[in-house]
Symmetry: C2
Subunit: 344 residues, 2 copies
Amino acid sequence: MKADAATRAAELSGSAVAGDRLALARLLTAVENHSDVAEAALRRLYPTAGRAHLVGITGPPGSGKSTLVAALIAEVRKAGRTVAVIAVDPSSPITGGALLGDRVRMQAYAGDDGVFIRSMASRGHAGGLAPTSTAAAAVLDAAGFDLILVETVGTGQSEVEVAAMADTTVVLEAPEMGDEVQAIKAGLLEVADLVVVNKGDKPGAQRTAAQLRAMLVASPPRAVDPAVGPGGVPAGTPGGDDPARPRPKRPDVLITTAATGEGVPELLAALDRHRSVGRAGESSGARLARAEAHVWAIVTDRMRARLHDASHAAATASLLTEVAEHRLDPYSAADRLLDEVGEG
Amino acid sequence: MKADAATRAAELSGSAVAGDRLALARLLTAVENHSDVAEAALRRLYPTAGRAHLVGITGPPGSGKSTLVAALIAEVRKAGRTVAVIAVDPSSPITGGALLGDRVRMQAYAGDDGVFIRSMASRGHAGGLAPTSTAAAAVLDAAGFDLILVETVGTGQSEVEVAAMADTTVVLEAPEMGDEVQAIKAGLLEVADLVVVNKGDKPGAQRTAAQLRAMLVASPPRAVDPAVGPGGVPAGTPGGDDPARPRPKRPDVLITTAATGEGVPELLAALDRHRSVGRAGESSGARLARAEAHVWAIVTDRMRARLHDASHAAATASLLTEVAEHRLDPYSAADRLLDEVGEG
């Protein structure tokens, strides 16, 4: 089995790097499935990756992400560079896809070898979405794409983390969005290297950009958690391993109209500028965060596999049942599981 | 330190169980911070929990979750039962809260000891949102609340997981929502035990309910992932450990108008019914999933702590740097880290 996987991985990686798009698509499927082929392929390809500029693009529903990505593809191609897109789709792997409208439009590039587009479901990734998309980006990077765009809907923790793990994170906004969206926005802004107000031809675009600039200048050092319960006390520090940490530099705010292409050349120039600045040191933070998420996902996968393998499965199941029935607390159960694994 | 934490935990748990709301709020803060006090308190309280009915309520922005939760609180109180709410807020712990509108309305219950409301930021939880909210629910359960409502915005993976981990998961919809929301909905429906069309006084409510019933009856066994890339192949099976697994029974569809209270007594009755059915066996699946997520989060916390402790931190940092610089692949790094921990 393992030897077969290695052979298959060697074949697929060789073909993918040589430009075979079908082999590349199959490798990405292997990555999504965490298969042995993916592991063997990544072991081969990883050392040849690290050259591409990984750009995360996120924003609330309705901010025009897909349209902007399409415009950015056109701009990148005009400059003679190649681009791959990982579109993280909030639909489910079970009920099937949706949001196909704009994606189908991107099919216009199906005949162009300098463009590769891949959708990835946002749910059902064992070990998390961020490690899976990081692995997929490494494959596309090894396959030689200059720019890799990871597009996510910035409304959930994992989606934001994915975008935040890029070398450059672009947060998209649109003029005059509702109140609840506004709230989501606040969380998004923290991870932004660049903020883009899209739909620049709509009334209110300039005002929205001005408000965002003001928000970013004001950016308070730390506000408290809105504890609403009687006697609620402010929540404490967020987890130290949150990859969505605030960026050190205040992001620029640009205005684009993706539908007409206005502002898109300026956006590409800003991406390039951020990358060259980042290379001097800052982006290594994002690269370390990415490496940590990826390695950590593999460590936990291996641990989980050990706990569920033939020699431990029964003990694990019985401990979890005890916890589910409140006969044992979860800390004691965790300690016993760690002992199990240590012995095994 | 540890002894101090145990003493403090004993004090706070004792007071919280005796009805001291400030102590309860402090315990929940400890849980959010993953402090030693939280661990000691949960070790004490966990075996006394397991009595409450844990209900997850999720739905897209604009479906009226907070209003429905407020109406449900009123209904539960009318029946002489007590209720606690964990409102998972998509705002950030850094930039500060938002979405306060409806939450502030809930302050109306501040004088009522049978109601307890707590907001929890959706980001910044080391180890994930689901384990943290599960731990918080266990504390509220031990404190004696009959019903615990966990309210999340159902737009991100972690938020959906949180709601799906409840004994009973309610998915809220509103008539005539946009296309992108529609897509999110498809993913949500899979985790529903009950589907509620809120804003029942709006035109289209009956039609939306009928459409949802049709969707649920049609519910295809499994559709493929929308791979849009040239040569894209359908993605494979989702992770086997996805807690957001489809429920075995087809959910009922109810209509409510939370603003006027219409349909809310029927919703409470449906919740009670689902619970009594669930007790016969089905809900144990949700309880096992909750136990597993909780225990697993503690296992990984402990592992991570070991990798970053004094004796391993330098080796860990150097391995991650090698991966970030693509001098080492992440699988080899993971294997070396696991060896490290095994030896330590």
